[in-house]
Symmetry: C2
Subunit: 149 residues, 2 copies
């Protein structure tokens, strides 16, 4: 019922590492006058979706956004011309989002900062097998949590 010592330790470590590194990355982007990290996820997800684009509720699921939160974030990004939206004809409640050329440029600029930082922090774990094992473990947590909804 209650967690073991090691289970608690892992949960604490997940939180600390995420919070600490995320902050530093966000701060680094802000310093370069680039948008916050969360925008990157949206841009990248849409860029990979290509011509077809994606709908807000799809982003919401894959990126774990709160609906209202995402709604406003998307508006901000659209206002900055990083995204374009068009009405989705088959369901007139919905809309389709795609990255603009400007969005692609901004994402690339963000990656110039973000990418090296990921490397800098993650390379503290040197062995490939350890990297793989750790992410496999964490992904296991995610999978189980998603399913049980």
């Amino acid at each position: 019922m209650y967690p073991t010592e090691n289970e608690t330790r892992l949960w604490v470590a997940i939180n600390l590492s995420q919070r600490l590194i995320y902050r530093k990355m966000d701060a680094a982007l802000k310093e370069k006058r680039l948008p916050p990290l969360r925008w990157y996820d949206v841009l990248w997800d849409l860029e990979r979706a290509g011509e077809k684009g994606k709908r807000p509720f799809e982003l919401e699921q894959s990126l774990l956004f709160e609906q209202s939160n995402l709604s406003r974030l998307l508006r901000r990004m659209t206002n900055e011309s990083l995204l374009e939206e068009r009405q989705f004809s088959r369901d007139r409640r919905g809309k389709i989002l795609r990255v603009t050329e400007k969005g692609r440029v901004v994402r690339k600029n963000m990656w110039k900062i973000y990418g090296p930082l990921i490397h800098e922090y993650m390379s503290q774990i040197e062995s490939e097998s350890e990297l793989k094992q750790s992410s496999a473990s964490l992904n296991r947590l995610v999978d189980c949590s998603v399913i049980e909804d």
Copy 2:
């Protein structure tokens, strides 16, 4: 310079797992009309500090709070009588925080929800060695990041 595939995967996994599980836990607490998860950290940290209590800036460091953010959180918690503050005589800029009896009760009630959830999620990783290895890896990330400040 740029991250390897596995480095990126780990970083993504850290984010997903943290965000997803944290949310679910916070939601579970809210459903039971208990305070948010972040309050737990404060209560627990102060409870372990015992009679001596702790000062806000110490909490700030160990729990990774933004100063202004923590300042207001502490006020809220004090207003709810979960904490009590007294002036720190040796440095009149500062103050000492301690948990109240009510604070201890609330923390225990939170733990009844929080504890089993930690177990539920973390127990997806069954082997003790895997648990240990994963948290050791993540802690390595944290240590390096903290030091370089």
